[in-house]
Amino acid sequence: MSKETRGSDPQGVSRRGFLKGVGAGSAAAGFIGVGENTAQAEGQDAPAIVGPGDGTYTLNIDGESKEVTAEPRATLLDVMRNRLDVTSAKKVCDRGTCGACTIFIDGEPAYACSMLALEAIGHKITTIASLGTPEMMSALQKAFVKHDAQQCGFCTPGFIVAATDLLNKNPNPTREQVRDGLGGNLCRCGTYVGVQEAVLEAAQSMKGGA
């Protein structure tokens, strides 16, 4: 967005006018400084005010700092896939119902499709790409291969992230707990039995059992 249009929203109403409309008196209270579209002060976890229009900020994905320029409306999933070429999290429903986009935010699973990318600033984002590689698979990934726990494979990265979390918290789950614990992930191809087998076997092998 050019400098001239920066202070304006798509309807051409200036930001200052809008701010006034909603009580400019206290608008600045509690702000980390009101800045440019791209404002993101060093060491602070969120920009003061971004957009409408592109802003530039940094995300930490799989241990790397990545700078991105995007509009505020961009979801974390879209920014990862379309701007940063991080395609390890998949897009299926794009509305928080299927789990294909599951990633870790500070170690806890979340849906990347249902979160604005701006909200992930300052947090550690981890995708399946950090859990293993084709040459060095995690025990869970190996078990997925062995038990044929996928058909089209679109749901698989999300399932593996969610199941990794499940095993971190409960290293010895029952089949019932596996089924229940993966309630946030759907497989359209219906490979649930394979997924459950894989998670149960991974639990065993991680204990040095199998």
Partner: protein, 322 residues
């Protein structure tokens, strides 16, 4: 999705100052799990989104002598792990357990759950809260299997989507709301309202108010939530019943059957502290009385009976096999 301005103030005052006096101009972002979808579906096209992420005072649980205070932006996962809530607000914890997705509850907040917009598929597909096309209700003669069986005589026929709302009402919770004029306290029951026009919303909040706290009294109550669901994975229930049995009486509140959580005073009175299986069954019958199902959702009436019965039995440790 129309682009917008995004801000994340560090104080509650900062948030309030940035909210518009008119609905639709600004939206509050807590966990975003519903808001982001609403933005994508074009159900709201705000010019500014105000995030609660940096407002520390809205997060966390405080245990007081006679109550438990929950910051509205506390995640549902945080609530699940709290032993005091498990003890004093069992019905709430069981309602959260029903939202069976770690990904959802790790990010979703209690305030967001209470304020989530209806899931009525006509609404979500652009026909407004009342599902009207060319002046005609699409809901009355359409696919209304998931719609209201109570409180549906007005234009609103969707069901309130929150499962935590009925639990909080049963537990006698109050909600604290802050706006430019200061703070007000609203009983959980009064927080929910049935919109009478398309420009109304489903809660008592004004567009420039923030839900800040949920306060649950620490009564000696036995409480439970029982849900009837289509599947074990992430989805909304058909019907829920939350009950709380205490010295002050017995409260029965239904979820997902009306445009608001639905209090059955009659069922509460019918029980009046009696909790034998026959009493529980009777309460279910009474709760279902007066239902006005639409063309495709009479099945929910039978579910009300079962949910109430099982919630009473669950609250009193007499759980029966589903």
């Amino acid at each position: 999705m129309q682009d917008f301005e995004y801000t994340a103030p560090t104080s509650l005052e900062g948030v309030i100052g940035l909210l518009s006096e008119t609905w639709g101009e600004t939206e509050i972002y807590a966990g975003g799990t519903d808001l982001v979808t609403c933005l994508k579906q074009g159900l709201t096209a705000p010019r500014r989104v105000v995030s609660l992420r940096n407002v520390k005072e809205l997060k966390g649980i405080t245990i007081l002598d006679d109550s438990i205070e929950i910051g509205a932006a506390t995640t549902l996962t945080t609530l699940l792990g709290n032993a005091e809530l498990a003890k004093h607000a069992t019905a709430l914890i069981q309602a959260i357990e029903g939202i069976n997705s770690k990904q959802m509850i790790n990010v979703g907040t209690l305030g967001g759950d209470l304020c989530q917009r209806p899931r009525c598929w006509f609404y979500r597909n652009g026909y407004g809260l009342f599902g009207i096309e060319d002046g005609k209700s699409l809901i009355e003669d359409g696919d209304n299997r998931y719609h209201a069986i109570f409180g549906n005589d007005g234009p609103a026929k969707f069901v309130s989507a929150s499962s935590t709302g009925p639990a909080l009402i049963a537990l006698g919770a109050s909600l604290i709301v802050s706006g430019p004029e200061g703070e007000r306290t609203i009983a959980a029951w009064d927080f929910f309202q049935t919109p009478q026009s398309e420009s109304d919303r489903e809660t008592a909040l004004k567009s420039n108010e923030v839900l800040t706290k949920i306060i649950i009294p620490k009564n000696e109550t036995q409480s439970a939530t029982y849900e009837i669901r289509h599947r074990a994975g992430l989805d909304w229930p058909y019907v829920t019943a939350s009950v709380a049995i205490g010295k002050e009486g017995t409260k029965v509140v239904l979820g997902h059957v009306a445009p608001t959580p639905w209090v059955s005073d009659a069922a509460g009175k019918a029980l009046n502290g009696r909790v034998k299986k026959a009493d529980a069954e009777k309460a279910g019958e009474v709760a279902a009385e007066g239902a006005t199902p639409l063309s495709q959702n009479a099945y929910k009436v039978a579910m009300v009976k079962t949910a109430v019965k099982r919630a009473v039995l669950r609250a009193t440790g007499q759980e029966e096999e589903a």
